[in-house]
Symmetry: C2
Subunit: 301 residues, 2 copies
């Protein structure tokens, strides 16, 4: 599982800092998460193939998380895309994109499939045989969701030496991977755990931006391998965080601690701070394993 930060700064794009957008590569998927202005250029810069993106997840309709959508959709059209594009976003995005396309008299060569979100409780919004995606209802000035990306538990791993030694028919191998005990050629029942090993633990990533401090999300993101939690402010500006429904670095760390996250990634920094190292230091007072998001940085599990 690999996360690439395309942009992680708040409010407005600048010469050397982009607004929120991330790419999560998990199993066979390349998920785009949020799409601030200029995201299509950052996709190019980070050599992410446009054609691989089938699903886009938009947290909320503030410009710094969504103003790159119309341009990206247009560019995919110019690239003569044919595959469906699924967009999971708060209700309203379909209307604005449709209006922009109508005014440009430009219809897409591919199917745009909008999944409009409006629930205030966590829901499963995407699932296939390898991955599932759940919303994480957040507490911001407009309707906002984070997203939890979870691998499904894989098959058990065949212990090929043990299987051969136990003299088991090849036809049973799939059953062993699925966790069943099987009978060998001599008619003996062999316990599954003597023939297979546990699968790799399923990996998970939670994206939480933008949000005020909200313990409601803890049960949803519990035990996640990586937690991206916005930290627009430092604790010394907690009044601004409260007022604008954002979080401080310390608050992000409190969520990571309560959720027993593997790694906390901070981002969505306000431009009022010159040095972002202070965000990491503030968070590490509460939770040890903290990394700073930076444009172009990658995190792998």
């Amino acid at each position: 599982m690999k996360l690439t930060i395309l942009g992680c700064h708040s409010a407005t794009p600048r010469i050397n800092s982009n607004t929120t957008s991330q790419v999560l590569e998990i199993k066979n998927h390349t998920f785009l998460i949020d799409c601030g202005e200029g995201t299509q250029v950052e996709l190019r810069r980070n050599k992410i193939k446009f054609g691989k993106i089938m699903h886009i997840f938009i947290s909320h309709l503030h410009g710094d998380h969504v103003f790159g959508m119309a341009g990206l959709i247009s560019t995919l059209n110019l690239l003569t895309r044919e595959k469906d594009l699924h967009i999971y976003a708060p209700k309203g995005l379909k209307e604005v994109i449709t209006l922009q396309m109508k005014l440009a008299a430009s219809w897409t060569s591919y199917q745009l499939v909008f999944h409009e979100l409006s629930s205030n409780t966590s829901e499963l919004i995407f699932e296939d045989d390898q991955v599932e995606v759940h919303t994480i209802p957040l507490d911001h000035r407009v309707y906002t969701n984070g997203f939890l990306f979870k691998e499904k538990p894989g098959e058990r791993k065949l212990d090929i030496n043990a299987v051969k030694k136990a003299d088991i028919e090849v036809a049973y191998y799939q059953k062993i991977k699925q966790g069943f005990d099987v009978v060998n050629k001599k008619g003996q029942l062999i316990a599954n755990n003597a023939l297979s090993k546990a699968p790799n633990p399923p990996k998970s990533y939670a994206f939480c931006s933008d949000t005020a401090y909200s313990e409601r999300i803890v049960p949803i993101v519990e035990n996640v391998d990586m937690l991206y939690h916005e930290s627009t402010f430092l604790e010394k500006n907690s009044d601004l965080a409260t007022k604008t429904k954002h979080s401080t670095a310390k608050q992000a760390a409190q969520i990571a601690l309560k959720a027993k996250a593997g790694l906390l990634i901070l981002g969505h920094y306000s431009t009022r701070y010159g040095d972002f190292k202070v965000f990491q230091e503030e968070a590490q007072g509460i939770f040890k394993n903290v990394e700073l998001a930076e444009d172009g940085k990658q995190f792998e599990v």
Copy 2:
């Protein structure tokens, strides 16, 4: 009069090339012309002060000319702008911007004044005591206008030595600048052209993008000092130009020649061409004084 090219490439922004946007500084004005995705970043890169922009002119509602508007409007809000912002654009932009603001629950701290355009004949859309702006109806796939920016003729210049020698009351100086003959202290009528010199010739700039070859624009842009005319294609792809209602470099030169323009600036190149020098060479076969637009390049008259 100074023109700064923020972006001049067609279709989609790329790592090192921006879509259409220009800044024209003329008299006391800083006019923004078109606003593709990422324009706000290019304004920063070119050190154009956001607060100086009072008027934005949008040619048409294709994304590569307008998708930067919502972000720019939001950023001006975050900068706590108070002054009115005038936007001259095809009918429809107001609706889409209003919808985007509504969905973001973000209203501007300043007044957005939309001047929605729908006429198919040239009209005067802005005028003060120094400058006027006229639309140039263009021929594209959607409703499109170019813009003609013209200085008004200034006052005549007082020939201070001649005025003193002719023994004229200071009270008459303003009349002389306005072109009147005046009477000196001895009661003699002195001809204006003995007391003043012609003003600097008023400067003018015409922006024509996007458009098929259209001689209808020639009378409007006649004798313009600088003509920006799109050249998406080379003549060898004139079939594509016709099909998509764009122009070739040669066609742009034909317009410049017929209009007796001072300088032709080419731009809006298709990314299919690697070397843009060929556009200049093709145009120079028809019209001598040709320059290539490039991101960040400036042209002064």
